[in-house]
Symmetry: D2
Subunit: 306 residues, 4 copies
């Protein structure tokens, strides 16, 4: 006979993943389009029965969660991923008093207007390319946390990057370099200060501003390590936007190896490179504003960071 007393349920959550929502705002002939992939995850002690005995009395169906996403898009609009997730999070945790926490995430896919004869078209769009905007809203009892971010933002510097001074052991063969290609695909998430969230944030403008500051820092900083570039990017965001408490990055070092052309009687003055797939360096780090309280609950089940 099974001794069911030997185990208990640990951390858990459930929900609907990757709900694809496209909302068209057509109040005028000049349409707006919002394109998101949304995941909702709910948790609470009352859900234990579903795990331990298959009792679904407190399990709001994931299909219902999906329906709610679509209904809210009609009733309230999207406006920004942060605002939309906040509304969803408040709904699930207040309409059903047994949900003590929720993690809501969104990827927003960018679209640009197609130019026709020098004018941007009213209702025709082409997918924009530079990275995917992300958002996370965490509800944790009475606390609410908002993380904005970006992923798959691929950037490259063709000079202005060195790497030397690292320790050498028996297994070290890498040559030092004072001029290399530095390339990465930035995943960044920044946490807004709870008091700023409460006071209200211009989510779209702030997001654009953070991207602009971090990209400019990547471009301008003469880099001695991808770690240094990462830290400077986070510092630039925090210094420019008082709403931001901390920034976390995960940045692969997308190696571009100088091809050895000497066997063919050719030199290679930093011109011809092989862009490697795997393995790659992987640099993670966070930059924190001095004096702000830590908020580990804000990062619950957010992948890809320390």
């Amino acid at each position: 006979m099974t001794d069911t007393s030997s185990v208990h349920l640990g951390p858990n959550q459930y929900g609907k993943a990757e709900v694809r929502l496209v909302r068209v705002t057509r109040d005028t002939d000049r349409h707006e389009i919002e394109d998101l992939t949304i995941t909702t995850q709910l948790r609470g002690a009352a859900l234990a029965d579903s795990y331990t005995s298959g009792d679904n009395a407190k399990v709001l169906a994931t299909d219902t969660q999906k329906n709610t996403v679509y209904a809210f898009a009609r009733e309230h609009g999207v406006h920004s991923p942060e605002e939309f997730l906040l509304r969803l999070g408040r709904h699930f945790t207040t309409a059903f008093d047994w949900y003590e926490g929720a993690t809501l995430t969104a990827d927003q896919h960018g679209w640009a207007r197609i130019p026709v004869d020098g004018r941007d078209h009213d209702h025709a769009f082409v997918r924009a390319g530079s990275g995917t905007r992300t958002a996370v809203v965490q509800v944790d009892g009475d606390d609410v946390h908002v993380l904005a971010g970006v992923t798959d933002l691929t950037v490259l510097k063709s000079t202005g990057s060195e790497f030397h001074g690292f320790p050498r052991d028996r297994y070290t063969t890498l040559a030092e370099t004072d001029d290399r290609i530095l390339a990465t695909s930035v995943t960044a998430r920044w946490r807004y200060l709870p008091e700023a969230v409460e006071a209200g944030i211009d989510w779209n403008a702030t997001h654009a501003g953070v991207l602009e500051r971090t990209l400019a820092t990547f471009a301008d900083l003469h880099s001695y390590a991808l770690q240094q570039t990462l830290f400077a990017m986070g510092r630039a965001a925090i210094e420019a936007f008082p709403e931001i408490a901390e920034v976390r990055f995960s940045m692969p070092n997308k190696h571009h190896f100088l091809v050895d052309l000497a066997p063919f009687g050719l030199d290679n003055p930093n011109e011809v490179f092989y862009a490697a797939d795997r393995p790659y360096g992987l640099i993670s780090g966070s930059v924190v504003r001095d004096g702000v309280a830590e908020a580990p609950a804000a990062w619950t089940s957010v992948p890809g960071f320390v």
Copy 2:
């Protein structure tokens, strides 16, 4: 005992696939970057021995093909994928007289300069987003064909698309619509007239021009079928550029389904959509300039078309 006389070798080719080449032009402080993924494929009757008996005397190693790509990037530069592939194709089929044909393909990955304080940076770039430029060069004995193209160019119209008048049988449930979202991810390849190739083509300017014309046509045409849009896009390219003989398209119909919000007491006046993954419509077609000769050899082993 095995009866080896019972079979013979049919069509074949071999080569190196997906050579990742990044070339930096740094003649001045304002760097240029060319980023390509290149595949070389060679063929010829003399290669039969490698298949039938493992005799490699006529098999230029695929590793050598890769080396040649990198060496040529240093010796000659890239300039455009078409020009670079032409040079590679001529080399392989003349340096080794047993290669009767070759298929060379390239994807070119776009980069844009990072703006810093209103100026485009000299040596810092962000990956551009709207589609990947493609090129194919076919060498077939004395004939040379050049296909330019684009793939993964995702576009969407939020209105200006209808679909009705289709036949209804026992299995038809689809409702007619006079206003739907039309979205697709364009894969297009256009063949240049051999005489235009010989006379010389401004590859980069023509490529940009074709994209501009086809995107504008997608945007402006009031569409009754994705087929109609496809044909109009091809016609626009051919009419604008006398160098083009034909255009082939493969265009998935990326369905955006209007969500039924009636169960929630809500209407949905073409505002809230579910973007589906699979299945999807798939429309292929080609538009051909009147009077030009067909060139099936130009399309050898080019995937994704009729």
Copy 3:
């Protein structure tokens, strides 16, 4: 004004791609499961109006094609991908007399029963791993062609493979080897003789038999080139199964590079390898039974081959 007389419609087809069908046969407690991804593509001169003027009178909606797949799965069962596609192809080209041709493809995803206490379970399955079974049915007027196949069948030999005797030019640096890892991911398609299709083929048994013969040949042949292995695999299939007219392969040479451990004071007697992603060799080839008629229509729009 647009000169519409300047262009005409070339080759074209349209349909529904990647219809995901899972069929459970539950006549007894021991269930059977068939899991397929199906694409239907139709063509015919009467479809030109949809391209040139957006007239859909002859355009069976791709949604209807999808519905037909599901209805036929209920009415007739699947039995094998070849039989199911043949039934669909005959339906579309006879129920609507304007369809002159059709390409129907299927991927079949394998499932194995979960073993419980030494017995295979009646209705619980785990996804099987070794490759995906594929099928193509081509209807071309009165002709019908059937291609069976497999893709993503990854195999590796840790010895029994050499590569030497290849020509050396200015760009050749590759060392010769008499013992290397040979690894590939097999994509194969074999065409059945039209008279065998008409007479009837045990599709499932023949498919299993071809896989068994080709895998055994990969394993047993001492290889001097991947080309040689490819040809022997095709010959083995054709010699074992008189129903088969030809076999086409696309086989990447998945390079496993011996790691140079000398800098660490270690030898490496063919033990430690780096499995590279890109670039890779790509070997394509076909093996044809002597005396059979060619059938180019069988290969219309089938990607990945010469």
Copy 4:
């Protein structure tokens, strides 16, 4: 002037990701093959200088980490991913006294011998299919944690699954069901008790045993919720293996929707299903042995769990 005192470095780590290692053991003619993708991540307070000032004096190059993986594979063999990662983790944190912690992960790709004439071949293999074995070793000062696991283990039950009794609100439209397909792709990780790690574990046999027990539980349990199945699978593993402290799961509910065939005059007695891609339910949960101490450090930067 930039106020650099306003921010500080938070959690961070760096290393080499996705080192592809294939090791052949060829002591006899019957070869063994081990195929892994390995990631090493190191951390320690002394690394702060690399972030804040680009000083790399304490930054063991990620290239060196990669070299160490290959050298250790030659010097010590692999034996199991857990043993190999433990050796790497001990090396990095003892050879360099400034590394206070490390996260080492591996995916092990399975290979089965190719059967030839009823015998398993000595040195020819085919990629095995059912899930990828995973391992994580965490070094956290003097503590060492080992997580074993599996990912992409796709399973399906064609009956024996119900879902009803869930709450209904304004947005609920889902029908209750007492017979549905239950399908998921299991990602599981189990933590071994530190004292068991110290005493020594038969890593390979235990891994196989856990898979066998959890798969059998998936198959045998009559399920009222995927949550219930998840919990029972974890309980089965913990009850069978005293070495295990806890099991965490992330299990998508891969929806198989019964196709409505009524418009075509057909019934559908649980036979014909549409396998959907997105959205999907996502169920996460952990099962913990009573009385064991929590070990949050064991789960640092392990993605995909609560």
